[in-house]
Amino acid sequence: MATLAYDVPKRELTIAEAQRYAASADRRTRIFNRCCMGVLIAFALLWLVPLAWAVDTALKPNGETTNPTWAIDNPTLASFRTLLAEGDIVNWYAASFITSAVVAVGTVFTASLAAYALSRLRFRFRWLAFWFILIGIMIPSQVLIVPRFRELGSVNLLNTYWAVILPQIPIAIAVFVFKQFFDGIPKDLDEAARIDGAGFFRTYRQIVLPLARPAVSAVAIFSFVWTWNDLLWPLLALSNPKIMTIPVGLATVQGTYGIRYADTMASAILGALPLVLVFLLFQRRIVEGIAGTGLKG
């Protein structure tokens, strides 16, 4: 038996005594909670330091970044202006937006259709299709870079947006996220629609998919963010700076800016900005998506 924090007499407590113990436990808990808050706030602030430092540096002129202070003598947006004027980063934004948006739409569309078949339709090879797609979860995409590179090279798709888009659409786990969600929607609903004469596609589009909004937004947000952040594959597939995605562009930039620390930090902030917006807009959806599915990039 655990030793208790304070002595409780070994007899029946009177109500007054019980209340006193509860109150003292309450007070201890309150003090404990306040200490917890303090520690946590300290760590949270510590966690924000690198980001604050990046912003601080980016707002200095390049020459001032060697000053060992947080204070900015001559705050300026010059670095941001230089980067936007040089133009490459605008191309990278375009590449990242186009590829991520197309992948997000493509993944939602193809994975939800497949999941509908697995969840609602009866056909002979259902279990085979199920296991066949399940295998995909076990294959890390990093293992496939070498053969994919030759495959896409042989059809001359390298250095096009397609090289980034097409391989990222078939995400096996997205099918199971949808299937799980569809399985939870009562079948009576779409069977009623079927009896009223609706085809499978109409049932899918007008009944099942609208009810699966949380799954749609989780899969869309995650595939968008994954594609936006992916480095390894786009690094191989895109060597033309005009169509590089943001991570690839930034990874190559790091050498070229040299000691222009303010410019480097400004490029990092510009690269992060769209995702920070996505995060602020969809914070709850993202957090719930992770909690509900354990999706990890």
Partner: protein
């Protein structure tokens, strides 16, 4: 009504074959072309002397690519670096995430702020994180270098010292990805029924006892999930090394994936790179299988 439909299904087990095919086709075509196809192609290639500079598979090589990889000190070094990185990142990423989640659970206010502070870095591209931390680690000028000097320590050569570089990369990674585990733990904590705490408080249990006897045991499923996801993610490390140290200094931080990258796309030895990829896949597979077996044993009812 349901039973009528079910009865009809039983008499025609393959009734929805054609629509099923149409529904599955868009996904399956891309899946075959870009996941299953390359997986098989890569496996085949690993038995040939395929080269990036020529077309076709090249000469049949049998198991020689595998034999070469398994006797290559570079391959083993890369595997060790990957394991070392996993060992350095996994414990802090789990313990800190758990502690922060336990603390945040007790915060009645400002939860959004903690979620923001810890989770925001996770959503940033690796390249952004790398650029910020390269600047933090810059000798003499970076924030961390200055802080160490200000505290009276000699300034470590964060990314340039072969013994320290991996620790620096691990530190960056802990900062970057902790938010994911933090969120998983927060979700796990929500599942624990409140009345357990209330009942134990009335029985006189203090906060420490509650954490030890109620919270941690009831979080064991979450912990098991967090651990396996974390180990697999750490095994796949590539971005941080590629951008921050290029696998250096003196290859001291070259990960397994970067080894594949180097032999495949710098040495152009595609067949050999495919064999190294397959070995990498087997390592990851072994980790996830071990996890499955272990969780099955813990929870026989699953």
């Amino acid at each position: 009504m349901t039973s009528v439909v079910a009865a009809r299904r039983e008499t025609r087990p393959s009734g929805h074959g054609r629509p099923a095919l149409l529904f599955l086709a868009p996904f399956l075509v891309l899946y075959l072309l870009f996941i299953v196809g390359p997986a098989i192609y890569g496996l085949v290639m690993s038995f040939f002397d395929t080269s990036m500079v020529s077309t076709g598979l090249g000469e049949f090589a049998g198991l020689s690519n595998y034999a070469e990889a398994l006797s290559s000190s570079d391959f083993w070094a890369a595997l060790w670096h990957t394991l070392w990185f996993t060992i350095l990142t996994t414990p802090p990423l789990i313990v800190l995430a758990l502690v922060f989640a336990l603390l945040a659970e007790r915060a009645s206010k400002a939860r959004w702020f903690f979620r923001l502070a810890f989770f925001l870095p996770y959503i940033l591209p690796s390249a952004v994180v790398a650029l910020i931390w390269i600047w933090m680690y810059t000798p003499a000028l970076g924030l961390l270098s200055r802080t160490m000097t200000a505290l009276g320590f000699s300034e470590p050569n964060w990314l340039g010292d072969p013994d320290l570089a991996m620790v620096s990369l691990a530190l960056t990674t802990v900062w970057w990805t902790l938010g994911f585990n933090f969120v998983l733990y927060l979700a796990g904590l929500q599942e624990i029924p409140r009345d357990l705490y209330e009942a134990s408080a009335i029985d006189g249990a203090g906060p420490w006892q509650q954490i030890r006897r109620i919270t941690l045991p009831l979080l064991s499923r979450t912990t098991s999930l967090v651990v396996v996801l974390q180990v697999i993610a750490s095994m796949k490390v590539f971005d941080q090394m590629y951008i921050m140290t290029q696998g250096g200094p003196n290859f001291a931080t070259r990960s397994l994936l970067q080894y594949v990258f180097d032999v495949g796309f710098t040495d152009f030895r595609t067949g050999y790179a495919a064999a190294a990829s397959t070995l990498f896949f087997l390592v990851v597979l072994a980790v996830s299988t071990a996890w499955l077996v272990m969780t099955r044993r813990q929870e026989p009812e699953l």
